[in-house]
Symmetry: C2
Subunit: 624 residues, 2 copies
Amino acid sequence: MAKYMVTFMPVNRSTMVEEGTTVAEAARQADVFIKNLCGGEGVCGQCRVQITSGNAKPDEQAKAFFSEEELDRGYVLACQTEVYDNLEVLIPPETRMEAAKIITTEGEEGEAEAGAVPLVRKIYLEMPAPTLEDNISDIERVTRELRKKIGWHSYNIGLPCLRRLSEKLRQSDFKVTASVAKHSGGYRILRIDPGDTSANAYGLAVDVGTTTVVAQLVEMGSGRILGVSGTPNNQASFGEDVISRIIHACKKDGLEPVHKAVIKNVNELIETLTSEKSIDREDIIAITAAGNTTMSHLLLGLIPCSIRLDPYVPTADIYPQIYAREIGIQINPEGILETLPSVASYVGGDIVAGVLACGIPDKPEVQGLIDIGTNGEIAIGNNEWLVCCSASAGPAFEGGGTRCGMRATKGAIEKIEISEGKLKYQTIGNAKPRGLCGSGLIDCIYELVKNGIIAPDGKFNRDLKDDRFAIVDDIPEYTIAFAEETESGEPIVITETDIDNLMKSKGAVFAAIKSLMDYIGMGFDQIHRFYVAGGFGNFLNIEKSIAIGLLPDIPKEDIEFIGNSSLTGARLCLLSEKALEKSFNISRAMTNIELSNYQPFMDEFVAALFLPHTNRKLFPSVTY
Amino acid sequence: MAKYMVTFMPVNRSTMVEEGTTVAEAARQADVFIKNLCGGEGVCGQCRVQITSGNAKPDEQAKAFFSEEELDRGYVLACQTEVYDNLEVLIPPETRMEAAKIITTEGEEGEAEAGAVPLVRKIYLEMPAPTLEDNISDIERVTRELRKKIGWHSYNIGLPCLRRLSEKLRQSDFKVTASVAKHSGGYRILRIDPGDTSANAYGLAVDVGTTTVVAQLVEMGSGRILGVSGTPNNQASFGEDVISRIIHACKKDGLEPVHKAVIKNVNELIETLTSEKSIDREDIIAITAAGNTTMSHLLLGLIPCSIRLDPYVPTADIYPQIYAREIGIQINPEGILETLPSVASYVGGDIVAGVLACGIPDKPEVQGLIDIGTNGEIAIGNNEWLVCCSASAGPAFEGGGTRCGMRATKGAIEKIEISEGKLKYQTIGNAKPRGLCGSGLIDCIYELVKNGIIAPDGKFNRDLKDDRFAIVDDIPEYTIAFAEETESGEPIVITETDIDNLMKSKGAVFAAIKSLMDYIGMGFDQIHRFYVAGGFGNFLNIEKSIAIGLLPDIPKEDIEFIGNSSLTGARLCLLSEKALEKSFNISRAMTNIELSNYQPFMDEFVAALFLPHTNRKLFPSVTY
């Protein structure tokens, strides 16, 4: 089979690959980072690259991700483009972004991916066999070798591992692989395996969202993302929001089923990811999980009851490192789980992960993170201080709580435009529409208000003459996709109730941002950059988000949508001991402003229940 | 019921007790230490006290422990003497000795029992309930309070404990007892119990001997010994010595039964001790275990196979702190087990415990410890250096391997004298004789050789005319107690084979001492003091031990018999974190001289197979 040379720019790294290999795979072989959220399914559009030399064969469907001009300039999706020629591939900045973030979190050390120490390391040790002159104990022999490789630390070992040590050493002629993890000041020797198994070291980063659980499978050595998969949180059967789940968990014998539900999620995701990539789940040796405080409690099986009751006390903010098996997660029996620390009852490990991922504590400039999930969480700070707050936003932006809402997967409508009475939409993966994801809902509200279909108070113009408009059971609704267009054959609509929910969601988020800014006495113009995170899908239209009053009215180039920053932060911690340590520092350093009994927030919330806002002066750029 | 005042001197501490209370119990109530090896059975004779004022009613049987002169001066056994009058009780130095040792091990700090920090502490915490102004997480609230009480450390907590924390705090109005143990640099929070349970904190010190397993139940707060119990090591069914047990354990599926056997011992001892004292076994929160390296491996279920094979490598010398439940020991589910560290394959935690108990590393004077069990282990050193060695002695001195041998419990003959053709013996507890314990066997050999019944080569004079002498199946034997005198109705005899075994045992021990002294280039006269430990019973006749060539021929006042120093050391570690830390230092600092392939030892061993020795110049004081 023919082989071709693929050279990646600007890093100028080359690799020879067989014909038919995808550009994304070639990048992996060349150890070049390409952003890839969907794991190569061609649905996320994140792996945009530009073919600057040579002929590529881009996938037809993938063309939908690019403008005509971009197509002319050679833009393709790396995962959907096969190599049949020598190629030069330019990786544009947006596709390198996540790699840049990893470097950010490692501070001054520059080439962080090379220098970072993953949470669990598999270290191959070739030891001299004992002699009468050198007959130290087996465990001392192992730790002596470890000290040579990774320095002088205290090394702990659990009894199960110690029990079989003698056998493992002797069956492998004293050539073994030690799996070690940092643990309370020293290192913990998790496993000793005969021979060199250091290549088979995988980790899982999990974002435990109230609505959605997403996991990334990562190669621990290289940091490469091998796949990502998401699934609705099984706890939904106990209630959509954290409060109803806490209430259920606090009934007699209520905790266990809620706890088990999310463990089932994680195990299913592991099953999906490992079978997709033909990886043995026993080779997964570490998991990092980020979630809000309630999700973290329920993941670990901690009693969450006091979280929802004044004075809102969680069992823990910093969670112990545990063996994943202790909570029934099926990876390597000695594999560990680190749960990212929380700040308070309503500011969880997901926001800590996000702050870490954005590198907020690394820079003197004041930056902010707005994480919009079922809760809206805001963190603002720099390398000297961090404040945060949280407000319940409801599940609307994650696709819950609206009639036709869905998460941002294939078939979700993520873009809508109404122009001259015509409605156009775009779905993820260009599939037949199945529902509306967060970004689609934002577009939808914007287009409805801009076109006068709804008023700034979110109510439909009931006299509207439009075949998309109807009043069913007294509730006005608007059809986005007609029955004949959709996958299910059912129409996709947005109702006035949906809009009401979305207004409350966006109002709560904006009120939280505004309250926090007022609290610290800063204006929006003093914020260097706002990062927006959340499960909106792969795109978030910043201008339309501003225009409906979800995001503050600052120059749109100062707002950056960064996707699932909770997942990114969890992955950073998986790949770097220092990042995890930094997450503990963020948790300890962050000041939480409790909004639940904070009157200015209540006032801001009411004021924000309008499009874009009751105080239009806050949104000078909005023109409708 | 009448009450009387008992005042203990020289500490001058008084207590009021009900009539009929024993003096030993009164001492406990007054928090005064009285040596008590047998746990109040009146068989060890260790709790000697002098009634200096008032009338006491001593037990008649107990009088056997004292000379006429002592009885006249008011000497009684504290555990066998009831109070029916106001008493002043003088505790003589020998009865205070063990307490003095505890102080020794604590180094410079003087009143160690007051200052020592036990391995597991139960700390009662009264915390303020959370408010909106103080809504830190539950675990932070607990650690904040712990930091106030026991200082700034890192505190770890296991998931099971964390899971119920919220409930425990709230059901007790934030008044709880935390059980904490030092663990890898910080502290581990083992349990949180509602209310104040700090009074119910017990520990178990265990000497895991090859022949005998002995356990002491200790009150953690006061250090009081509540009871002691011993039982033959159940592993005996797999062989008498460590080698045969290793061989069994290294057969297919062989380890588990050998491991389980000794766990059964420990659980039985716990059952005996807790039911005797009506203590809930769940209130035992810590165990320390000292044993030789093989016993420690088998206790923990570690593969012991390489211990017996050149180059004699154990799995571990320093063992991890584990939950006792991990090896099936039935105490508090969060109770921990610390196994005292070994030095090498044939120098175990028992000798480390002994060195600790004797305070050898605390003083500039060179001192030695000779621990005579199934292995003879010798350690010599001071506050700057420590060397040790080990030789297989066989089970003879522990009552194994001889026809009528038994361990030093009630009915064991512990003293023998033959004078003018008449044999007199004394048994432990003055009971009908049941066999010969170690000290009885030493006396026996001495008397036999001194009276010309056996020759210095250990062979019987076959022409002997003595109704105690007989040759049965070609093997000469000598009757110590006739059938009509004994409990079983069977005679108690010593055979030539027994003597041969004892000669080898004493020869191995002396050869080991001599080899080690030669190795370090010191003469016996340079040793400040020799401590002799072992399961000989409560007495060891030092002169006779020298005269048979077991102990070196130095002034007998320079040799001190200290009983089970392995158990004492284990108890010290139970009652003091620092003592345990010191045991790790001893393990690391001690240089082991491997005798197994050391020619001078072989030569010394052969030379020592004679009574007292082939080189009589080494034993100038011996006159027979």
